[in-house]
């Protein structure tokens, strides 16, 4: 009863001083709005990254050469050469481990690529096998991909970006053009389809010049197989597959030479990083929230000063200190909640716009909305408490005598 009458009173008093109320509302709206926008954008980015990551499939393992992981027979000699992963060893993984259906080793090459004597910007050679295309969920737009019959050949397949650059540099037909890398000329036999930017592959597919892995290992000095992508056979868990692969390398005495990562680990790590990122964004938004809260406090303090007489009358009629405190607290909470609701709308709207222009998939985060409601409530109580307490501590006589 006191509550309902307090609610009614609070709305009335907020309406009675519209200008001040609106000014305080703006502060809260901006504060809550930016927190919501930040947190919600953080979530969208997180979802987006995960989505792109999962697009490659989560049934893959990444096997990488462990730097510094020594081999048992490593007495003298260069450690790099000793720890090199042999192509035959890798090819045998699929037959020795039933849990692995396919492997795609790759070699990153170095060297400038040029066409017609003109340097190709943003391109990099990479040695791959025929299985590479399917495992990385890439497809061919023109021509064909490298096959196992292309061992040691001087053929290459290029990403869409490289193809565009060739055309810009005067190639009539991309397929059949010749690209120079170092001292070697490669004939383009195919072009891969464009893939969206920012995927979770550890290379930029559109900017690649793919050679057969055997060719790269011969052509590039110091080239070695650094990364293998392995597709897990249907019916096997990633963990089982991982155990089999590890057992295989251990049987070769290379247990410590490789590091095997499953997507779960990467996803977990990504989620952790993204949470930090979201938290950071939220913290930045909170600064404007504090400013908004101070605005609420200011409005409430003015309101208390203006209504000293009223406080005195209420006290004379039997209002306890707690009643007065409650009345002003409810007022500031209502103010903050209204600001919070509008702020949520603005924040979600802003994050929608950001997602729209960044071409991310928009997701409405319930967590962000609950956060907004909770935080605005907390702001109302936190910044309203001091003015409300001031009001409740007023001496009834002093309050009555003031005007």
């Amino acid at each position: 009863m006191i509550l309902t009458s307090n609610l009614k009173e609070a709305t009335r008093s907020l309406l009675a001083s519209k200008q001040r109320t609106i000014l305080a509302l703006i502060g809260i709206v901006i504060g809550i709005g930016s927190v919501i926008a930040m947190v919600s954008v953080g979530r969208i980015v997180q979802d987006e990254a995960l989505r792109q990551f999962k697009e490659m499939g989560t049934d893959i393992l990444t096997i990488e050469k462990e730097f510094g992981g020594g081999l048992p027979d490593g007495g003298g000699g260069r450690p790099a050469a000793k720890s090199a992963l042999k192509l035959d060893t890798i090819r045998a993984i699929a037959s020795r481990c039933p849990a692995i259906s396919n492997v795609a080793p790759s070699v990153r090459g170095t060297g400038e690529a040029s066409f017609n004597g003109k340097k190709l910007e943003r391109s990099g050679p990479m040695g791959v096998t025929a299985s590479f295309l399917a495992i990385n969920k890439l497809s061919i737009r023109e021509g064909r991909f490298l096959s196992d019959l292309d061992e040691q050949s001087r053929f290459c397949v290029i990403g869409s970006q490289v193809a565009a650059e060739l055309q810009k540099k005067g190639a009539d037909r991309v397929v059949g053009s010749k690209i120079r890398i170092g001292d070697n000329l490669f004939t383009v036999i195919g072009v891969t389809s464009e893939v969206p930017q920012g995927g979770m592959r550890r290379f930029e597919p559109n900017e690649m010049i793919y050679l057969h892995i055997t060719t790269s290992l011969r052509v590039f000095a110091n080239a070695e197989i650094s990364s293998i992508t392995a597709r897990v056979s249907p019916g096997y868990t990633n963990t089982a597959a991982r155990d089999q692969v590890l057992a295989y390398f251990v049987s070769l005495g290379m247990g410590s030479a490789v590091r095997i990562t499953s997507p779960e680990e990467i996803i977990a790590q990504m989620e952790k990083q993204m949470q930090m990122f979201t938290l950071l964004l939220g913290a930045i938004g909170s600064i404007s929230l504090i400013v908004g809260g101070v605005g609420v406090m200011n409005v409430m303090l003015v309101s208390v000063t203006e209504r000293r007489r009223e406080i005195g009358i209420r006290r004379a009629l039997g209002a306890k200190r707690g009643d007065i405190r409650g009345q002003f607290l409810i007022e500031s909470v209502i103010l903050s909640l209204i600001g919070g609701l509008v702020g949520i709308i603005f924040g979600v709207g802003a994050s929608w716009l950001i997602a729209h222009f960044a071409q991310w998939q928009f997701t409405l985060s319930l967590g962000a909305i609950l956060l907004g409601v909770g935080v605005s409530n907390a702001v109302g109580i936190f910044f309203g408490y001091y003015p409300a307490r001031q009001a409740s501590l007023l001496d009834p006589i002093v309050a009555l005598k003031s005007d």
Binding site: M1, I2, T4, S5, E9, R12, S13, A16, R309, E310, G312, I313, R314, R315, A316, L317, G318, A319, K320, R321, G322, D323, P396, I397, L400
Partner: protein, 221 residues
């Protein structure tokens, strides 16, 4: 029902102590219509604030309905004000945002009562003071005399033991002031309500059954 013994009140202004009440002794019986009269600045309002438990005396004993009340805690004092004392002020002190009806209901709100019962009770009291057709008006839409009638209804709504009126006619012209005095007299005569009226106007004081004169911080009858 109301017994004041040697009530003293002093204010400290800087280094000097000003004694306003210098040992007030007063007894008010149930059903009395008493006026406390004295020149401006003699401490009448200070005394009323002490009786009304809005202020605490510096020393002295104050019994209300047989209970010592002057030094209880703030919440308990609020409760006594709410249930046992009805205030009527010179400046009416209605809340401007509330309607007459809502103003009358305020003491009941702080008692935790609400609903149709209270509305009926408040309407009944507005009728008692002749303001039932203005129940939904706000104070700014009422004349001074009308506002004071609403304030009297508000003072009566909680069925208090005593009504304390500080210069209730002080802001009204003689005719309207006379009507307000008539209302107090009727309430006292017909319903036996105890009323203490504070005034500096001998004309008002004369209409009361008993007059207490305030002089030099004390009461002489």
């Amino acid at each position: 029902m109301l017994i004041l013994r040697d009530i003293r009140k002093s204010y400290r202004i800087g280094p000097t102590e000003v004694d306003v009440l210098k040992g007030v002794n007063l007894e008010v019986q149930q059903g009395e219509l008493l006026s406390i009269m004295g020149p401006s600045g003699c401490g009448k309002s200070t005394l009323m604030n002490c009786i009304g438990l809005l202020d605490r005396p510096t020393s002295g004993s104050f019994m209300l309905d047989g209970v010592e009340v002057a030094y209880t805690n703030d919440d308990a004092l609020s409760d006594i004000r709410n249930r046992r004392i009805g205030f009527v002020f010179q400046q009416y002190f209605l809340l401007s945002r509330l309607t007459a009806l809502e103003n009358v209901a305020l003491p009941l709100v702080y008692r935790g009562d609400a609903g149709q019962d209270t509305t009926d009770r408040c309407m009944e009291l507005l009728k008692r003071v002749g303001m039932e057709d203005r129940a939904l008006h706000r104070p700014a839409e009422l004349s001074g005399g009308q506002q004071q009638r609403v304030a009297i209804a508000r003072a009566l709504v909680g069925s208090p033991s005593i009504i304390l009126a500080d210069e209730p006619t002080g802001a009204l012209d003689t005719q309207v002031g006379g009507e307000i005095m008539e209302l107090f007299k009727t309430l006292n005569a017909e319903e036996g309500i105890t009323v203490v009226i504070i005034t500096h106007d001998p004309g008002i004081a004369r209409q009361c059954k008993r007059v207490a004169l305030m002089k030099d911080g004390g009461i002489v009858e």
